[in-house]
Structure formats: structure tokens, C-alpha cells
């Protein structure tokens, strides 16, 4: 199926992915010190490859600083890759930047990126012009979008009085003005209250149903689970796992998880647990006063007493055993030692 949009027909050969990243790399040069400038090269993205098919909602999941935003900025032409290549709708993001920009929408999280002193309507009008939305269609399009993101009645107010959630919804509307074929959403729910975030996820799901191809970055696992068709987990600038949420769960469903509530858990004990036979990985999560030790156990192994034994001298609270969740898969992926990367 070929969809039309305001900028005309978008001829993407069928069967070709809408977004394709091939061995994408980006390093930053940072300078420190005033007098003796020390140059340091930081590799933010080290060889990321993935394809996104038409109509797919693809999640890039990873902790802060994993390289999600850098990857997205290369795809939307704001950053030049230092290695590898990427194309969107068949256009190269370096050589064909303007063509790429015409067909993509970009929305980032947080409350910046709006003209505070203009009304929501004026913000949308401005960007409608910048995206070349034909004047005749502008009014209707803006009206529809304002309604879709639930800002009807407030659109004539200045943005400076808007809450974070309202700003974020206005951002979404802005990103959709030119009815882009592909949407890039960079941590759109960051900093919004739970109700607002849930509404926003609803909006994203609707967009997916409308057939948009979406790349979503997030560090909320449940968000990726709820929305995405496919997830790539990125850590230290590399993709460490890719698949459907079910695939990723599969990786850890064999076996089970032991959770031990402790108080004042030293790092050495965690290391000791990691070395135990039958333990696949161990991670610590702070919960209020307590540290919960989450131990992934290999199928068939029984490690509870061994684990408790290596916690000698540590105050131990509740101990429980449960089935693994996607979150466990994620925690395991992002907290394991990087395979080939320098420490």
C-alpha cells in the first residue's frame, strides 16, 4: 500500500524497510580543561543496525545514556553519523537530508521546544508553514490535531501557562502537522504524571492503528511491552537484543527468579552471588529502605539456600520466588557486563 500525504506520493518500494540503520556509529569529541585542552573521544553509538517495516511500532529500549537519542538524531538528520549509514523511506539521511525531513515527524519528551509566548494555535501555524502544509488544508488539519490531543478550548492560550502533559500533547500535534509517514518519538512520556502518560500511550497506539511507522525510544520497560511490535534493547551504544516482547521474555522464561529483600547489602555479596552455580545473573534494586537482590536462576537449579549462605552477616527480610517478567529480561540485558566492549 502506498499512502499519500501533503507532500505528495511517497514512493517507497514495497518490501523495503521504511527505516534502515546499518552499522550506525557516532562518536563525540569532548574537551575538558581551560588551559590544557584534553581531547577525549566518546563513542555514543557503536555499530547499530536495525530495520523497521512499514506500519511497525519499533521500540528502542535502554537506560539513560545508552545511545537512544543519538541514534534517533542521526535518523532525523540532526546529527551526521561518524560511521555506517541509514535511510528513511529510501532516502539517505546524509545525502538526502531535506527529502527525509519532509516525510518524518519528530517529537521529544520534556517541556522545551515550544514558543512560550505564542498560543498553541500559533505554534502549530508556524510549524505548518515550515513544513509546507498547504494553506487550504492547514485550518482543518490543525483543528483535527488539536482535538485529537485533547487541547480543544485551550488552543488560543499562550503555551507558558500549559502543564507538562499539555505541552507534550501539543508536541505530538506539532509532529503530526504534515501527516508524516514515519514518526520518531524520543522518550515522549518523560516527566509526565501517570495519567497523562497513559493518555499519551493511548494516542501512540492510535497512531499505530492509523498505519504510521513509529520509532519510539523509552527507558520504561512496561511502555515498550505495551506498545511495541518489536523491541531492540540498546546498552552502551550497542544493540544487545532484538525481538518481539514475547521473544525477549522467552529468553528468561526458562528458569525462575529469586528475590531476596536485604538491608545494607554490600557489593561484594552481590558479586559472590553472581559466581554461584546455577545463577545466571544478579541485580540489585532499591526499594525504600531495602535493597532487593534479584537473582535469575537457570532452569532446574535450586539456589535459594546457596544465595542466603553467601549473604552471611547481611540483614535479610522476605525471600520469594516467581516467574520471570519482561522487566527481568530487560534488567538482565542492561546490567550484564558488556560482551566485547572495553570496560
Amino acid at each position: 500500500m502506498v499512502r499519500t500525504n501533503f507532500a505528495g506520493m511517497v514512493p517507497v518500494p514495497s518490501g523495503r524497510p521504511v527505516v534502515r540503520a546499518h552499522d550506525l556509529r557516532r562518536s563525540y569529541r569532548t574537551r575538558a580543561g581551560t588551559f590544557r585542552r584534553e581531547r577525549k573521544e566518546v563513542e555514543a553509538v557503536r555499530g547499530v543496525s536495525f530495520d523497521i517495516e512499514r506500519g511497525e511500532l519499533f521500540g528502542l529500549l535502554g537506560p539513560n545514556g545508552a545511545g537512544k537519542t543519538t541514534t534517533i538524531k542521526m535518523l532525523i538528520t540532526l546529527l551526521l553519523p561518524t560511521g555506517g549509514s541509514a535511510e528513511v523511506l529510501g532516502h539517505d539521511v546524509v545525502a538526502d537530508a531535506r527529502e527525509v525531513r519532509r516525510h518524518i515527524g519528530y517529537v521529544f519528551g520534556g517541556d522545551r521546544g515550544l514558543y512560550e509566548r505564542l498560543s498553541a494555535l500559533d505554534n502549530l501555524r508556524y510549524f505548518a508553514e515550515l513544513y509546507g502544509v498547504p494553506p487550504r488544508e492547514q485550518r482543518q488539519r490543525i483543528g483535527e490535531l488539536v482535538e485529537m490531543v485533547g487541547l480543544t478550548g485551550r488552543e488560543k492560550e499562550r503555551v507558558e501557562g500549559f502543564s507538562r502533559g499539555m505541552r507534550q500533547r501539543l508536541h505530538i500535534a506539532r509532529g503530526l502537522l504534515h501527516d508524516p509517514e514515519v514518526l520518531f518519538l524520543d522518550e515522549p512520556t518523560i516527566g509526565i504524571d501517570p495519567v497523562g502518560a497513559r493518555e499519551l500511550r493511548g494516542t501512540i497506539a492510535t497512531l499505530r492503528e492509523q498505519g504510521k511507522t513509529i520509532l519510539l525510544t523509552t527507558h520504561y520497560m512496561f511502555e515498550a511491552d505495551e506498545l511495541c511490535d518489536r523491541i531492540a534493547v540498546i546498552r552502551g551504544g550497542e544493540i544487545v537484543a532484538e525481538g518481539t516482547p514475547a521473544d525477549l521474555k522467552q529468553r528468561v522464561t526458562a528458569g525462575h527468579v529469586v528475590e531476596v529483600e536485604t538491608f545494607g547489602l554490600p557489593e561484594t555479596s552481590v558479586d559472590a552471588v553472581r559466581l554461584l552455580d546455577g545463577v545466571r545473573s544478579a541485580a540489585v534494586e532499591e526499594r525504600g529502605q531495602a535493597q532487593v537482590l534479584i537473582v535469575q536462576v537457570r532452569p532446574g537449579a535450586e539456589v535459594t539456600s546457596l544465595v542466603l549462605g553467601s549473604l552471611d552477616g547481611v540483614n535479610v527480610g522476605r525471600v520469594s520466588s516467581r516467574e520471570p517478567t519482561l522487566e527481568d529480561a530487560y534488567v538482565e540485558l542492561v546490567s550484564a557486563e558488556p560482551a566485547g566492549a572495553p570496560a
Binding site: Y28, R29, I76, T77, L78, L79, L80, R98, R101, R102, Y106, F108, G110, R112, G113, L114, Y115, E116, R117, L118, D122, R125, Y126, F127, E129, L130, Y131, G132, P135, R174
Partner: protein
């Protein structure tokens, strides 16, 4: 057609934004009036006929120059703080077409300054500026505004790498007042200095405005003003592409 509309809408919205900020707006108008007042007092002691009209016209136009030099240099920095710079760059519109309407809106603020300085001169110093050919006068002023805006566009992209770019305004405001023939006749300067003067669009604009006020033909000066401005615009357009490429290479667009 689309470009015209884009320019008009962007111009209008940015003008709205600038005007909303009371302090930016009001103070930009007041600031040149201080210098105008000194100029009126100073020239008021001279016996030469017509010298007050000369000072009144010059002081009125000064505001266009100052508003652009002081605000355009910080333009990209402000967009960066707002977080909109990346969005502007990510749009398919050429960067020059994004920025020129903004600097034109800034230059237009100078029109308020122009009117209020003329009123100030009239109310407090009894200086009336006779305008022999009003149409030519208005055209001269509008062309001056646009040319200065094009210079402001070049300025805004030229200083993008400096974190303290807003201070560049201080570096340019006074020299422009000195060199563009607002309050000091160019004939007082050594000839190498007048070369600098003629490379600045307001010099031609000022000559056109004076000529049309006196009933002489301003058109050669108007055309020169526009041409000099366009040169700045073209250089700015070329530079903006280079700057953007470098920003994409060095990751200096967001700096959050």
C-alpha cells in the same frame, strides 16, 4: 507563493513574540532615545541651520540598527534555550528562510523606535522633520529595515559558535551609530573609514531617507541599500548551510 506566505506568517508570529516581551520591546525603544537626547542637546548649541533636523532624522533611524545588532546576535542561542532550534533545523524549510523573517521582525521593532524618537524630538525639542516626498521616505525606511535584517541574518549565523554571542551586539551597536552617518557626517572620517561605512546598508538607507525628506531623488541610494543588504543575505545563506553541516557534525545544535 509558498515562500512568500511562509515569510509573512513567520514574520508576523515572531513580531508578536517580540512585542509580547514588554521589557525587550519598551527598552529597545527607550535606549536610542537617550543618545538622541544627548545629540539634540549637543547639536542644539550649534548655530548651523538645519543641524537639528539632521540629528532628528539620524537619531530616529539609529534604533533599527541597534535592535538588530543587539538581538540578532543572540537569536540562535535563544532558540537553543527554548529547545526549538533542533525543530527548526529538522524542518524541510531552508534555514535562511527560517531566520530572515525573524531578523526582519526584529528590525521592524526599530520602526517603533523611529516613530517615538521623532515624537520625542518634536515634543521636547520642537524639532519638526519636513518630509518632502512621503512615499519615497516610507520606501527608503522599509528598504533600510529589510537590508539591516539581512545583515542581522548573517550576524546571527556568523556568531553561532560563540556562547557569549549576545555580547557581540555591544561590539557592533556603537560602531554602527558612529559609521553609518546617523549623527556624524561621513566627510569627517578619513577615507579608509568611509569604505567601511559604505559597506554597511544603513549608510545608504540613511542617505536615501535624508534625500527623500529633502525632496531629492533617493532611488540610487535605495537600490544600493538593497544590493548591499542582499550581499549580506547571500553570504548569510551560504554560511548558514556550512554552519548547519558543522553543527550536525559536531553535535552543537542542542547543548542541553
Amino acid at each position: 507563493m509558498r515562500v512568500l506566505r511562509l515569510v509573512a506568517v513567520s514574520y508576523w508570529l515572531h513580531l508578536k513574540m517580540i512585542a509580547v516581551s514588554v521589557f525587550e520591546g519598551v527598552f529597545q525603544v527607550i535606549w536610542p532615545i537617550y543618545f538622541a537626547t544627548v545629540a539634540f542637546l549637543l547639536y542644539g548649541r550649534s548655530d548651523e541651520p538645519g543641524v537639528l533636523v539632521y540629528a532628528g532624522l539620524g537619531a530616529a533611524v539609529m534604533g533599527i540598527w541597534s535592535v538588530v545588532t543587539t538581538t540578532a546576535s543572540g537569536l540562535l542561542q535563544r532558540e537553543r534555550w527554548l529547545g526549538t532550534l533542533e525543530l527548526l533545523v529538522a524542518s524541510p524549510t531552508r534555514f535562511a528562510l527560517v531566520l530572515v523573517p525573524i531578523t526582519t521582525a526584529m528590525a521592524s521593532l526599530g520602526l517603533f523606535s523611529l516613530v517615538s524618537t521623532l515624537l520625542w524630538a518634536w515634543l521636547l525639542f520642537g524639532i519638526t522633520v519636513p518630509v518632502a516626498s512621503p512615499l519615497a521616505f516610507v520606501v527608503s525606511i522599509l528598504v533600510s529595515v529589510f537590508s539591516v535584517a539581512l545583515l542581522g541574518f548573517l550576524l546571527s549565523v556568523a556568531v553561532v559558535r560563540y556562547r557569549t554571542a549576545w555580547a557581540m551586539g555591544n561590539l557592533l551597536e556603537y560602531p554602527g551609530w558612529l559609521l553609518c552617518g546617523f549623527l556624524v557626517p561621513l566627510t569627517l572620517f578619513p577615507s579608509w573609514v568611509s569604505w567601511i561605512s559604505y559597506a554597511l546598508p544603513p549608510t545608504w538607507g540613511m542617505q536615501a531617507i535624508r534625500a527623500s525628506a529633502h525632496g531629492e531623488s533617493p532611488w540610487l541610494d535605495v537600490v544600493m541599500c538593497l544590493l548591499v543588504g542582499l550581499v549580506y543575505g547571500v553570504v548569510g545563506a551560504l554560511l548558514s548551510e556550512t554552519v548547519l553541516r558543522s553543527a550536525r557534525r559536531h553535535a552543537t545544535l542542542s547543548l542541553t
